[in-house]
Protein backbone atom coordinates (compact mmCIF):
# COMPACT_ATOMS: atom_id res chain seq x y z
CA UNK A 1 0.00 0.00 0.00
CA UNK A 2 1.21 3.50 -0.85
CA UNK A 3 2.53 5.35 2.19
CA UNK A 4 0.38 8.22 3.36
CA UNK A 5 0.73 10.19 6.58
CA UNK A 6 -3.01 10.74 6.95
CA UNK A 7 -5.47 8.23 8.46
CA UNK A 8 -8.49 10.06 7.05
CA UNK A 9 -8.41 12.50 4.19
CA UNK A 10 -11.79 14.04 3.33
CA UNK A 11 -11.98 16.34 0.32
CA UNK A 12 -15.00 18.46 -0.70
CA UNK A 13 -17.51 15.95 0.59
CA UNK A 14 -21.20 16.72 0.19
CA UNK A 15 -24.03 14.55 1.44
CA UNK A 16 -27.70 15.01 0.68
CA UNK A 17 -30.69 12.87 1.64
CA UNK A 18 -33.68 13.63 -0.57
CA UNK A 19 -33.84 17.41 -0.72
CA UNK A 20 -31.99 17.84 2.57
CA UNK A 21 -28.40 18.93 2.41
CA UNK A 22 -26.90 17.25 5.47
CA UNK A 23 -23.24 18.11 4.87
CA UNK A 24 -21.61 20.42 2.37
CA UNK A 25 -18.00 21.02 1.30
CA UNK A 26 -16.41 19.15 4.18
CA UNK A 27 -12.61 18.95 4.20
CA UNK A 28 -10.65 17.37 7.01
CA UNK A 29 -7.50 15.41 7.69
CA UNK A 30 -6.66 13.24 10.67
CA UNK A 31 -3.06 12.24 11.27
CA UNK A 32 -1.64 9.27 13.22
CA UNK A 33 -1.68 9.76 16.97
CA UNK A 34 -4.01 12.76 16.91
CA UNK A 35 -6.65 13.19 19.60
CA UNK A 36 -9.64 14.78 17.91
CA UNK A 37 -13.17 15.67 18.86
CA UNK A 38 -16.21 16.65 16.82
CA UNK A 39 -18.72 19.01 18.36
CA UNK A 40 -21.81 20.72 17.02
CA UNK A 41 -25.54 21.12 17.53
CA UNK A 42 -28.00 18.24 17.24
CA UNK A 43 -28.88 17.52 13.61
CA UNK A 44 -25.71 19.29 12.47
CA UNK A 45 -24.35 16.21 10.67
CA UNK A 46 -21.76 14.95 13.18
CA UNK A 47 -22.91 11.32 13.11
CA UNK A 48 -23.38 11.49 9.33
CA UNK A 49 -19.76 12.58 8.99
CA UNK A 50 -18.63 9.57 11.04
CA UNK A 51 -20.88 7.24 9.01
CA UNK A 52 -19.36 8.62 5.82
CA UNK A 53 -15.86 7.94 7.16
CA UNK A 54 -16.88 4.36 8.04
CA UNK A 55 -18.45 3.71 4.63
CA UNK A 56 -21.95 3.31 6.06
CA UNK A 57 -23.12 6.20 3.86
CA UNK A 58 -21.89 7.15 0.40
CA UNK A 59 -21.04 10.82 -0.20
CA UNK A 60 -23.10 12.59 -2.88
CA UNK A 61 -19.83 14.06 -4.13
CA UNK A 62 -16.24 14.42 -2.99
CA UNK A 63 -13.60 11.88 -2.00
CA UNK A 64 -12.68 10.06 1.19
CA UNK A 65 -9.33 8.31 1.58
CA UNK A 66 -8.56 5.92 4.43
CA UNK A 67 -4.87 5.32 5.11
CA UNK A 68 -4.14 6.80 1.69
CA UNK A 69 -6.50 4.43 -0.17
CA UNK A 70 -9.76 5.37 -1.88
CA UNK A 71 -12.55 4.29 0.45
CA UNK A 72 -14.16 1.99 -2.17
CA UNK A 73 -10.89 0.04 -2.46
CA UNK A 74 -10.06 0.02 1.24
CA UNK A 75 -10.11 -3.48 2.76
CA UNK A 76 -8.13 -3.20 6.01
CA UNK A 77 -11.08 -2.22 8.17
CA UNK A 78 -9.49 -3.87 11.22
CA UNK A 79 -7.17 -0.84 11.35
CA UNK A 80 -10.17 1.25 12.40
CA UNK A 81 -12.03 0.65 15.65
CA UNK A 82 -15.60 1.92 15.61
CA UNK A 83 -18.01 2.32 18.51
CA UNK A 84 -21.32 3.71 17.21
CA UNK A 85 -23.87 5.83 19.04
CA UNK A 86 -25.98 3.88 21.54
CA UNK A 87 -23.89 0.73 21.03
CA UNK A 88 -23.99 0.20 24.79
CA UNK A 89 -27.77 -0.15 24.69
CA UNK A 90 -28.01 -3.92 24.40
CA UNK A 91 -31.07 -6.14 24.84
CA UNK A 92 -30.84 -7.53 28.40
CA UNK A 93 -31.50 -11.12 27.25
CA UNK A 94 -29.15 -11.22 24.26
CA UNK A 95 -27.05 -14.38 24.67
CA UNK A 96 -23.58 -12.85 24.51
CA UNK A 97 -20.92 -12.98 27.19
CA UNK A 98 -18.39 -10.17 27.57
CA UNK A 99 -15.69 -12.45 26.19
CA UNK A 100 -17.78 -13.35 23.13
CA UNK A 101 -18.44 -9.67 22.39
CA UNK A 102 -14.78 -8.68 22.70
CA UNK A 103 -13.79 -11.66 20.50
CA UNK A 104 -15.94 -10.20 17.69
CA UNK A 105 -13.22 -7.60 17.26
CA UNK A 106 -10.96 -10.34 15.89
CA UNK A 107 -13.43 -11.95 13.47
CA UNK A 108 -12.48 -9.93 10.40
CA UNK A 109 -8.80 -10.76 10.94
CA UNK A 110 -9.48 -14.50 11.37
CA UNK A 111 -11.09 -15.03 7.96
CA UNK A 112 -13.56 -17.78 7.02
CA UNK A 113 -11.60 -20.87 8.02
CA UNK A 114 -9.67 -19.24 10.86
CA UNK A 115 -9.96 -20.70 14.32
CA UNK A 116 -9.05 -18.59 17.33
CA UNK A 117 -5.24 -18.45 17.34
CA UNK A 118 -2.99 -17.77 20.33
CA UNK A 119 -2.54 -14.27 18.89
CA UNK A 120 -6.33 -13.79 18.91
CA UNK A 121 -6.57 -15.05 22.50
CA UNK A 122 -3.86 -12.69 23.73
CA UNK A 123 -5.38 -9.72 21.85
CA UNK A 124 -8.79 -10.44 23.42
CA UNK A 125 -7.32 -10.87 26.92
CA UNK A 126 -5.16 -7.78 26.57
CA UNK A 127 -8.03 -5.53 25.49
CA UNK A 128 -10.30 -6.88 28.26
CA UNK A 129 -7.54 -6.20 30.84
CA UNK A 130 -6.91 -2.78 29.40
CA UNK A 131 -10.57 -1.80 29.71
CA UNK A 132 -10.96 -3.39 33.14
CA UNK A 133 -13.60 -5.91 32.08
CA UNK A 134 -11.57 -9.14 32.34
CA UNK A 135 -13.33 -10.08 35.58
CA UNK A 136 -16.69 -9.80 33.81
CA UNK A 137 -15.75 -12.19 30.97
CA UNK A 138 -18.50 -14.75 31.64
CA UNK A 139 -21.24 -12.25 32.44
CA UNK A 140 -23.95 -11.54 29.86
CA UNK A 141 -23.43 -8.15 28.23
CA UNK A 142 -27.07 -7.23 28.86
CA UNK A 143 -26.60 -7.70 32.60
CA UNK A 144 -23.88 -5.02 32.92
CA UNK A 145 -24.23 -1.34 33.77
CA UNK A 146 -24.11 1.29 31.01
CA UNK A 147 -20.52 2.23 31.87
CA UNK A 148 -19.36 -1.41 31.88
CA UNK A 149 -21.02 -2.10 28.52
CA UNK A 150 -19.36 0.96 27.09
CA UNK A 151 -15.96 -0.36 28.17
CA UNK A 152 -16.75 -3.77 26.64
CA UNK A 153 -17.58 -2.10 23.32
CA UNK A 154 -14.29 -0.21 23.38
CA UNK A 155 -12.49 -3.47 24.27
CA UNK A 156 -14.08 -5.09 21.20
CA UNK A 157 -12.85 -2.23 19.02
CA UNK A 158 -9.34 -2.45 20.55
CA UNK A 159 -9.10 -6.23 20.07
CA UNK A 160 -8.46 -5.72 16.35
CA UNK A 161 -5.40 -3.58 17.22
CA UNK A 162 -6.69 -0.49 15.42
CA UNK A 163 -4.59 2.54 14.59
CA UNK A 164 -7.55 4.84 15.03
CA UNK A 165 -10.57 4.63 17.31
CA UNK A 166 -13.84 6.35 16.37
CA UNK A 167 -16.42 6.79 19.11
CA UNK A 168 -19.81 8.37 18.45
CA UNK A 169 -21.34 10.12 21.50
CA UNK A 170 -19.83 7.68 23.97
CA UNK A 171 -21.67 8.89 27.03
CA UNK A 172 -25.28 8.37 25.99
CA UNK A 173 -27.01 6.77 28.97
CA UNK A 174 -23.88 6.74 31.15
CA UNK A 175 -23.51 8.36 34.59
CA UNK A 176 -21.18 11.33 35.20
CA UNK A 177 -18.50 9.36 37.04
CA UNK A 178 -18.28 6.83 34.22
CA UNK A 179 -18.08 9.68 31.72
CA UNK A 180 -14.99 11.12 33.41
CA UNK A 181 -13.38 7.69 33.66
CA UNK A 182 -14.14 7.19 30.00
CA UNK A 183 -12.44 10.38 28.82
CA UNK A 184 -9.44 9.54 30.99
CA UNK A 185 -9.33 6.14 29.30
CA UNK A 186 -9.33 7.70 25.83
CA UNK A 187 -6.44 9.94 26.86
CA UNK A 188 -4.45 6.96 28.14
CA UNK A 189 -5.05 4.99 24.93
CA UNK A 190 -3.91 7.96 22.91
CA UNK A 191 -0.81 8.71 24.99
CA UNK A 192 0.42 5.20 25.79
CA UNK A 193 -0.65 3.23 22.72
CA UNK A 194 -0.41 6.02 20.18
CA UNK A 195 -3.93 5.23 18.91
CA UNK A 196 -5.49 8.20 17.12
CA UNK A 197 -8.87 9.06 18.62
CA UNK A 198 -11.86 10.72 16.99
CA UNK A 199 -15.00 11.14 19.03
CA UNK A 200 -18.24 13.08 18.99
CA UNK A 201 -19.25 14.87 22.14
CA UNK A 202 -21.50 17.61 23.48
CA UNK A 203 -19.35 17.98 26.57
CA UNK A 204 -17.00 20.75 25.39
CA UNK A 205 -15.64 21.40 28.89
CA UNK A 206 -14.31 17.89 29.39
CA UNK A 207 -12.45 17.86 26.10
CA UNK A 208 -10.65 21.19 26.52
CA UNK A 209 -7.45 19.53 27.72
CA UNK A 210 -5.18 17.38 25.57
CA UNK A 211 -7.23 17.67 22.38
CA UNK A 212 -5.02 18.23 19.38
CA UNK A 213 -7.80 19.11 16.95
CA UNK A 214 -11.44 20.08 17.26
CA UNK A 215 -13.93 19.94 14.42
CA UNK A 216 -17.01 22.17 14.55
CA UNK A 217 -19.71 20.62 12.42
CA UNK A 218 -23.00 22.30 11.61
CA UNK A 219 -23.94 21.19 8.10
CA UNK A 220 -20.44 22.08 7.05
CA UNK A 221 -17.09 21.99 8.78
CA UNK A 222 -17.18 25.50 10.24
CA UNK A 223 -13.88 25.41 12.06
CA UNK A 224 -11.01 23.06 12.70
CA UNK A 225 -8.75 24.37 15.41
CA UNK A 226 -7.28 23.89 18.86
CA UNK A 227 -9.49 23.86 21.98
CA UNK A 228 -8.10 27.19 23.19
CA UNK A 229 -9.19 28.90 19.98
CA UNK A 230 -12.49 27.08 19.96
CA UNK A 231 -13.55 27.94 23.50
CA UNK A 232 -13.99 31.59 22.68
CA UNK A 233 -17.40 33.20 22.68
CA UNK A 234 -17.30 34.17 19.00
CA UNK A 235 -16.39 30.63 17.92
CA UNK A 236 -19.13 29.08 20.01
CA UNK A 237 -21.70 31.60 18.78
CA UNK A 238 -20.72 30.85 15.18
CA UNK A 239 -21.09 27.14 15.74
CA UNK A 240 -24.39 27.08 17.56
CA UNK A 241 -25.90 30.08 15.73
CA UNK A 242 -26.89 31.76 18.97
CA UNK A 243 -25.03 34.12 21.36
CA UNK A 244 -22.77 32.03 23.63
CA UNK A 245 -20.84 32.87 26.77
CA UNK A 246 -17.97 30.63 27.83
CA UNK A 247 -17.57 30.07 31.59
CA UNK A 248 -14.47 28.28 32.88
CA UNK A 249 -14.54 26.22 36.07
CA UNK A 250 -12.17 23.86 37.80
CA UNK A 251 -14.03 20.58 37.27
Amino acid sequence: MKFSPSLFDVRNVNFTRGDNEILKSVNLTILPGEYCAIIGPNGGGKTTLIRLLMGLEKPSSGTIKLFGTEQAKFREWHRIGYVPQRSALVDATFPATVREVVAMGRYARRGIFGFESSEDVSAIEESMEQMGVADLRDRLIGHLSGGQRQRVMIARALASHPQVLIVDEPNTGVDVESQHRFYELLRVLNKTKGIAILFITHDVGVIAEDISKLFFVNQTLLLSQTPQEMLRCDSMSRLYGTPAHVVCHNH
Binding site: L56, W77, T93, P95, A96, T97, M104, Y107, R110, R156
Partner: protein
Protein backbone atom coordinates in the same frame (compact mmCIF):
# COMPACT_ATOMS: atom_id res chain seq x y z
CA UNK B 1 -40.19 -48.81 22.74
CA UNK B 2 -37.23 -49.28 20.44
CA UNK B 3 -39.21 -51.74 18.33
CA UNK B 4 -40.53 -48.78 16.35
CA UNK B 5 -37.07 -48.50 14.85
CA UNK B 6 -37.58 -51.90 13.21
CA UNK B 7 -39.90 -50.21 10.74
CA UNK B 8 -38.04 -48.72 7.75
CA UNK B 9 -40.45 -45.77 7.55
CA UNK B 10 -39.65 -44.89 11.19
CA UNK B 11 -35.92 -45.18 10.54
CA UNK B 12 -36.31 -42.73 7.65
CA UNK B 13 -38.49 -40.40 9.75
CA UNK B 14 -35.91 -40.35 12.57
CA UNK B 15 -32.98 -39.69 10.23
CA UNK B 16 -34.89 -36.88 8.50
CA UNK B 17 -36.27 -35.47 11.75
CA UNK B 18 -32.91 -35.33 13.52
CA UNK B 19 -31.28 -33.76 10.48
CA UNK B 20 -33.98 -31.07 10.34
CA UNK B 21 -33.86 -30.47 14.09
CA UNK B 22 -30.11 -29.85 13.93
CA UNK B 23 -30.37 -27.45 10.99
CA UNK B 24 -33.52 -25.65 12.16
CA UNK B 25 -32.23 -25.00 15.69
CA UNK B 26 -28.87 -23.76 14.48
CA UNK B 27 -30.18 -21.42 11.79
CA UNK B 28 -33.14 -20.43 13.99
CA UNK B 29 -30.80 -18.91 16.58
CA UNK B 30 -29.74 -16.25 14.10
CA UNK B 31 -33.24 -15.27 12.95
CA UNK B 32 -34.63 -15.16 16.49
CA UNK B 33 -31.87 -12.80 17.64
CA UNK B 34 -32.47 -10.57 14.64
CA UNK B 35 -36.23 -10.29 15.39
CA UNK B 36 -36.80 -12.10 12.12
CA UNK B 37 -38.66 -15.10 13.56
CA UNK B 38 -41.62 -14.85 11.18
CA UNK B 39 -39.29 -15.52 8.24
CA UNK B 40 -39.56 -19.25 8.85
CA UNK B 41 -43.36 -19.11 9.02
CA UNK B 42 -43.54 -17.03 5.85
CA UNK B 43 -41.20 -19.25 3.84
CA UNK B 44 -43.13 -22.29 5.03
CA UNK B 45 -46.29 -20.81 3.50
CA UNK B 46 -44.39 -19.96 0.32
CA UNK B 47 -43.13 -23.54 0.05
CA UNK B 48 -46.76 -24.62 0.14
CA UNK B 49 -47.18 -22.76 -3.16
CA UNK B 50 -44.30 -24.83 -4.55
CA UNK B 51 -45.90 -28.05 -3.30
CA UNK B 52 -49.25 -27.10 -4.88
CA UNK B 53 -47.63 -26.29 -8.21
CA UNK B 54 -45.64 -29.51 -8.06
CA UNK B 55 -48.68 -31.69 -7.42
CA UNK B 56 -50.78 -29.82 -10.01
CA UNK B 57 -48.24 -30.20 -12.82
CA UNK B 58 -46.89 -33.61 -11.81
CA UNK B 59 -43.47 -32.25 -10.77
CA UNK B 60 -41.57 -33.08 -7.57
CA UNK B 61 -43.35 -31.16 -4.77
CA UNK B 62 -40.14 -31.11 -2.74
CA UNK B 63 -38.07 -29.53 -5.51
CA UNK B 64 -40.82 -27.04 -6.32
CA UNK B 65 -41.01 -26.10 -2.64
CA UNK B 66 -37.23 -25.49 -2.61
CA UNK B 67 -37.45 -23.28 -5.72
CA UNK B 68 -40.45 -21.25 -4.48
CA UNK B 69 -38.95 -20.81 -1.02
CA UNK B 70 -35.56 -19.72 -2.38
CA UNK B 71 -37.02 -17.13 -4.76
CA UNK B 72 -39.24 -15.70 -2.01
CA UNK B 73 -36.35 -15.54 0.46
CA UNK B 74 -34.26 -13.48 -1.98
CA UNK B 75 -37.16 -11.15 -2.72
CA UNK B 76 -37.86 -10.65 1.00
CA UNK B 77 -34.21 -9.89 1.77
CA UNK B 78 -33.96 -7.60 -1.27
CA UNK B 79 -37.01 -5.57 -0.20
CA UNK B 80 -35.76 -5.40 3.40
CA UNK B 81 -32.10 -4.55 2.81
CA UNK B 82 -32.12 -2.62 -0.48
CA UNK B 83 -35.50 -0.87 -0.29
CA UNK B 84 -35.38 -0.47 3.49
CA UNK B 85 -38.89 -1.86 4.02
CA UNK B 86 -39.84 -2.98 7.52
CA UNK B 87 -39.15 -6.70 7.77
CA UNK B 88 -42.43 -7.51 9.57
CA UNK B 89 -44.42 -5.75 6.82
CA UNK B 90 -42.60 -7.59 4.03
CA UNK B 91 -43.12 -10.90 5.82
CA UNK B 92 -46.83 -10.19 6.36
CA UNK B 93 -47.29 -9.49 2.64
CA UNK B 94 -45.51 -12.67 1.56
CA UNK B 95 -47.20 -14.79 4.23
CA UNK B 96 -50.77 -13.93 3.31
CA UNK B 97 -50.02 -13.56 -0.41
CA UNK B 98 -48.44 -16.99 -0.74
CA UNK B 99 -51.21 -18.66 1.26
CA UNK B 100 -53.80 -17.04 -1.04
CA UNK B 101 -51.93 -18.27 -4.09
CA UNK B 102 -51.66 -21.80 -2.68
CA UNK B 103 -55.40 -21.89 -1.91
CA UNK B 104 -56.24 -20.76 -5.47
CA UNK B 105 -54.01 -23.44 -6.98
CA UNK B 106 -55.50 -26.09 -4.69
CA UNK B 107 -59.08 -25.06 -5.51
CA UNK B 108 -58.32 -25.04 -9.24
CA UNK B 109 -57.25 -28.67 -9.21
CA UNK B 110 -59.46 -29.90 -6.37
CA UNK B 111 -58.05 -33.40 -6.52
CA UNK B 112 -55.20 -33.64 -4.08
CA UNK B 113 -56.55 -32.69 -0.69
CA UNK B 114 -55.34 -35.83 1.06
CA UNK B 115 -51.84 -35.44 -0.32
CA UNK B 116 -51.75 -31.78 0.62
CA UNK B 117 -52.78 -32.62 4.19
CA UNK B 118 -49.50 -34.47 4.74
CA UNK B 119 -47.54 -31.45 3.51
CA UNK B 120 -49.48 -29.13 5.81
CA UNK B 121 -49.03 -31.11 9.01
CA UNK B 122 -46.24 -33.60 8.27
CA UNK B 123 -46.40 -37.35 8.04
CA UNK B 124 -43.80 -39.87 9.11
CA UNK B 125 -45.08 -42.25 6.47
CA UNK B 126 -44.28 -39.89 3.63
CA UNK B 127 -40.46 -39.76 3.91
CA UNK B 128 -38.95 -41.74 1.04
CA UNK B 129 -35.35 -42.81 0.43
CA UNK B 130 -35.11 -40.21 -2.34
CA UNK B 131 -36.22 -37.53 0.14
CA UNK B 132 -33.48 -38.62 2.52
CA UNK B 133 -30.84 -38.34 -0.20
CA UNK B 134 -32.00 -34.84 -1.16
CA UNK B 135 -32.14 -33.83 2.51
CA UNK B 136 -28.67 -35.27 3.11
CA UNK B 137 -27.15 -33.35 0.20
CA UNK B 138 -28.75 -29.98 0.86
CA UNK B 139 -28.63 -30.42 4.62
CA UNK B 140 -24.87 -31.10 4.58
CA UNK B 141 -24.26 -28.08 2.38
CA UNK B 142 -26.39 -25.86 4.63
CA UNK B 143 -24.69 -27.14 7.78
CA UNK B 144 -21.23 -26.61 6.27
CA UNK B 145 -22.09 -22.98 5.43
CA UNK B 146 -23.61 -22.36 8.87
CA UNK B 147 -20.50 -23.71 10.60
CA UNK B 148 -18.10 -21.85 8.30
CA UNK B 149 -19.82 -18.50 8.78
CA UNK B 150 -21.04 -19.09 12.35
CA UNK B 151 -18.99 -16.30 13.90
CA UNK B 152 -19.79 -13.77 11.15
CA UNK B 153 -23.54 -14.50 11.36
CA UNK B 154 -23.34 -14.10 15.13
CA UNK B 155 -21.58 -10.74 14.79
CA UNK B 156 -24.27 -9.57 12.31
CA UNK B 157 -27.04 -10.68 14.70
CA UNK B 158 -25.39 -8.76 17.53
CA UNK B 159 -24.55 -5.55 15.68
CA UNK B 160 -25.03 -5.45 11.91
CA UNK B 161 -23.55 -1.98 11.51
CA UNK B 162 -20.31 -2.66 13.37
CA UNK B 163 -20.00 -6.03 11.60
CA UNK B 164 -20.19 -4.15 8.29
CA UNK B 165 -17.56 -1.60 9.34
CA UNK B 166 -15.19 -4.35 10.46
CA UNK B 167 -15.08 -5.67 6.89
CA UNK B 168 -17.62 -8.51 7.10
CA UNK B 169 -19.67 -8.89 3.91
CA UNK B 170 -23.00 -8.40 5.61
CA UNK B 171 -25.27 -8.20 2.54
CA UNK B 172 -23.85 -11.37 1.01
CA UNK B 173 -24.12 -13.27 4.30
CA UNK B 174 -27.68 -12.07 4.87
CA UNK B 175 -28.70 -13.47 1.48
CA UNK B 176 -26.83 -16.68 2.27
CA UNK B 177 -28.64 -17.07 5.60
CA UNK B 178 -32.12 -16.57 4.15
CA UNK B 179 -31.27 -19.02 1.33
CA UNK B 180 -30.18 -21.66 3.85
CA UNK B 181 -33.37 -21.12 5.85
CA UNK B 182 -35.46 -21.37 2.68
CA UNK B 183 -33.86 -24.72 1.79
CA UNK B 184 -34.18 -26.10 5.34
CA UNK B 185 -37.86 -25.18 5.47
CA UNK B 186 -38.62 -26.70 2.09
CA UNK B 187 -36.83 -29.91 3.08
CA UNK B 188 -38.65 -30.08 6.41
CA UNK B 189 -42.19 -30.16 5.11
CA UNK B 190 -42.33 -33.96 4.77
CA UNK B 191 -41.73 -34.51 8.46
CA UNK B 192 -42.96 -31.39 10.24
CA UNK B 193 -45.32 -29.86 7.69
CA UNK B 194 -45.40 -26.36 6.27
CA UNK B 195 -47.67 -24.94 8.95
CA UNK B 196 -45.51 -26.15 11.83
CA UNK B 197 -41.87 -25.89 10.75
CA UNK B 198 -41.71 -22.29 12.06
CA UNK B 199 -42.04 -23.63 15.59
CA UNK B 200 -39.05 -25.99 15.19
CA UNK B 201 -36.94 -23.07 14.08
CA UNK B 202 -38.07 -20.54 16.69
CA UNK B 203 -39.02 -22.35 19.93
CA UNK B 204 -35.68 -24.12 20.67
CA UNK B 205 -33.57 -20.91 20.54
CA UNK B 206 -36.21 -18.92 22.45
CA UNK B 207 -36.31 -21.59 25.17
CA UNK B 208 -32.50 -21.83 25.29
CA UNK B 209 -32.08 -18.04 25.59
CA UNK B 210 -34.12 -18.16 28.82
CA UNK B 211 -31.18 -19.93 30.51
CA UNK B 212 -29.04 -16.76 30.20
CA UNK B 213 -25.85 -18.19 28.74
CA UNK B 214 -23.42 -17.14 26.02
CA UNK B 215 -24.24 -17.64 22.34
CA UNK B 216 -22.21 -20.80 21.74
CA UNK B 217 -23.72 -22.57 24.77
CA UNK B 218 -27.19 -21.26 23.93
CA UNK B 219 -26.92 -22.67 20.40
CA UNK B 220 -25.81 -26.08 21.72
CA UNK B 221 -28.71 -26.13 24.17
CA UNK B 222 -31.10 -25.07 21.42
CA UNK B 223 -29.93 -27.97 19.26
CA UNK B 224 -30.30 -30.33 22.24
CA UNK B 225 -33.89 -29.18 22.82
CA UNK B 226 -34.79 -29.55 19.13
CA UNK B 227 -33.28 -33.07 18.88
CA UNK B 228 -35.00 -34.23 22.08
CA UNK B 229 -38.38 -32.86 21.00
CA UNK B 230 -38.13 -34.43 17.53
CA UNK B 231 -37.38 -37.85 19.07
CA UNK B 232 -40.23 -37.46 21.57
CA UNK B 233 -42.64 -36.11 18.94
CA UNK B 234 -41.94 -38.86 16.42
CA UNK B 235 -42.33 -41.49 19.14
CA UNK B 236 -45.69 -40.04 20.19
CA UNK B 237 -46.70 -39.89 16.54
CA UNK B 238 -45.88 -43.61 16.13
CA UNK B 239 -47.57 -44.86 19.30
CA UNK B 240 -50.68 -42.66 19.22
CA UNK B 241 -51.10 -42.28 15.43
CA UNK B 242 -50.73 -38.49 15.61
CA UNK B 243 -49.56 -36.19 12.80
CA UNK B 244 -45.79 -35.99 13.35
CA UNK B 245 -45.52 -32.20 12.95
CA UNK B 246 -48.17 -31.48 15.56
CA UNK B 247 -46.66 -33.97 18.02
CA UNK B 248 -43.19 -32.41 17.64
CA UNK B 249 -44.52 -28.87 18.12
CA UNK B 250 -46.44 -29.88 21.27
CA UNK B 251 -43.22 -31.34 22.70
CA UNK B 252 -41.45 -28.06 21.84
CA UNK B 253 -44.13 -26.13 23.69
CA UNK B 254 -43.60 -28.29 26.77
CA UNK B 255 -39.85 -27.56 26.56
CA UNK B 256 -40.55 -23.84 26.25
CA UNK B 257 -42.89 -23.84 29.27
CA UNK B 258 -40.25 -25.77 31.24
CA UNK B 259 -37.60 -23.17 30.31
CA UNK B 260 -39.97 -20.40 31.28
CA UNK B 261 -40.80 -21.91 34.68
CA UNK B 262 -37.22 -22.86 35.55
CA UNK B 263 -35.92 -19.41 34.67
CA UNK B 264 -38.58 -17.22 36.28
CA UNK B 265 -37.16 -13.75 36.89
Amino acid sequence: MLEMLNYPFMQRAFIAGLMIALLAAMSGSFIVLRRYSLLSETLAHVSLVGVSVGILFGLSPLWMAVVASLIASWLIEYLRSVHGMYSDSVLAIFLSGSLALAIVIVSLSGSFNASLFSYLFGSILSVSNDDLIIMGLFGSLSMALLILFFKELYFIAFDEEVARTSGIRVTLLNFMLVSIIAVIIALSIRVVGTLLIGALMVIPPVAAIRFGMGFFTTTLLSIGIALTCVVAGLSLSFFFSLPSGAAIVLCLLVAFIFALVVNRR
